[in-house]
Symmetry: C2
Subunit: 322 residues, 2 copies
């Protein structure tokens, strides 16, 4: 059976096919439009729609905000890809690889400006609240990206610092998208905060799971090759926690493995993670954030049946894999 | 005697010294704050204040918008410097040179987001109109920057195309700043359009003059070495017009000179400009845009004495040099 998330994702994707930019200069807007040609899952805009529908039938402004959110998300992706020097995204050349860095930089800028244009077209009753939320979320996403780059240069960071970075870089945008839908619905401050915290904790749980799956998941269901993070020496929940809590001997082995590139690197790192128990700690952390997310959803003052779609979405994101 | 422009520029500079960013992450906000340490002339924010004062005493919201405008301007400068690979701005290392490109890119992004934050704090009566203006102006500035980069790769462009690029890249932001002040004042649509067109034509006249001065100006009053644009083969009003209207022989000489780097390059190019009459055409064009600017200022329905400050500013920008 098709889920409410899938229904809304399809409906949004059709709406989002509209032209968002003028034709000229083609060098600029062609690059911006190129970025939008390949879809993605549309999680953030659909979260906005679901955050609105939690309180009643979807209101027209939610669709405008959903478009703004998706444009904003693509602005961050274009600029992130420049910073990461990534050649590919969703199987295609990134904007800076297909065009050039300057054009990609400007395409990201106009994408952001266009997001504000849609946001600014919503009803005057909520527009300042919504733009304030977008500003705050946007700043936090930038802070998260900066911390992520900073952490790549630091040998040892605390798990708290890592989770804070994840919160900024990915969780707050999911949370903010849900909250924007709730704002349009005229939800109470308390309900707004609960839906925000539901989204934030869902995002944290999802990221911890993602880190766990990369090392311990079943490649046939996960869809990626196992151990990619280990090969790339990427800072993950597992590595950060292991460097923080492993025994001195394990830590020494780990540090040596970080500069090792032999064929058994993945197996040896995985063995240390297991020995140090960080696979279990990750599962516990995921369950902790999941529990918090569900508790915040419970607290929202709407009929239980209104929450079904969000519960199903959370379950499909989180429960089948770890 | 100190002009009204200078008074407001000083007053604004003091206000603008306030902290615009949080302390953490220092790697991100330190770079953003670094950009703001060196002043500049504050033309755009002061134009907003003067556009407001044209209609009566300056209103509180104008100061918020002036701050937003200056932050927005600095966002464009940080990103432009990345694209132009410029090592210096206002005599100091550019943000990307002092830090790194990724940090500069993100610092520009948070600068833009913070501009929207100030803009969004203005009275709800005008906020959507103001943000719509900022969105439009911002997109046009990006379009102008893209066209400027595109034109560098094209041998021959029309003067119309060059002036359109200048309009987008620099003139509309001056025009938009003035208009924002008028919007806050509750000016009529017609007065708003006239102050906008005053600013746009003033910007065009100023740019034409700037191009003329680089080749024909007196270095002792202009403050830059003569012929910098010629040495850099920069597309200017003079070069574009000359390539468009010179005789076949002059055009051939010009094209040869573009790939020539001898010590007499500046003198030989200048001689062709004179022979083709483009120095005179530039002066006529400047006078044409100046005339249009003043005509639009005349049309504004306020007492003549209210226009004195803007007339003085226009004169000081335009009348003493060509």
């Amino acid at each position: 059976m098709i889920s409410r998330f899938q229904e809304l994702s399809q409906e949004f994707s059709i709406l989002f096919k509209q032209k968002h930019f003028p034709a000229y200069p083609e060098t600029l807007y062609g690059a911006a439009s190129y970025m939008l040609e390949e879809g993605g899952k549309r999680i953030r805009p659909v979260l906005c729609l679901m955050g609105n529908e939690l309180f009643g039938p979807i209101q027209a402004d939610s669709w405008k905000i959903a478009i703004a959110i998706e444009l904003f998300h693509n602005f961050t992706l274009i600029h992130d890809d420049i910073m990461d020097k990534a050649p590919l995204r969703r199987g295609r050349a990134t904007v800076h690889a297909r065009f050039d860095e300057s054009t990609a930089l400007l395409a990201g800028d106009v994408m952001l400006l266009q997001a504000y244009e849609y946001m600014n077209e919503t009803d005057s009753k909520h527009v300042q609240h919504l733009i304030r939320l977008l500003n705050k979320t946007g700043r936090e996403v930038c802070e998260g990206q900066q911390l992520d780059m900073d952490f790549e240069k630091i040998h040892s960071i605390t798990l708290d610092a890592y989770m804070h970075m994840i919160e900024l870089k990915t969780a707050v945008f999911l949370a903010g998208s849900l909250r924007m839908g709730a704002v349009v619905a005229g939800a109470s401050e308390s309900d707004q905060q609960n839906i925000y915290d539901f989204g934030k904790n869902l995002g944290l749980a999802f990221q911890v799971q993602d880190d766990w799956l990369d090392t311990f998941g079943d490649p046939s269901t996960f869809g990626k090759q196992r151990g990619g993070d280990i090969t790339a020496n990427k800072k993950t929940f597992l590595l950060v926690k292991c460097l923080e809590s492993a025994s001195p001997e394990q830590k020494q082995d780990l540090i040596e493995l970080l500069i090792y590139a032999g064929p058994d690197k993945i197996d040896r790192m995985t063995a240390i993670y297991r020995a140090a128990g960080v696979d279990r700690v990750a599962q516990e952390a995921k369950n902790y954030y999941m529990g918090k997310a569900y508790a915040h959803l419970e607290n929202i003052q709407v009929p239980e049946r209104n929450k079904t779609a969000l519960k199903e979405l959370a379950a499909s994101l989180l429960e089948r894999k770890i």
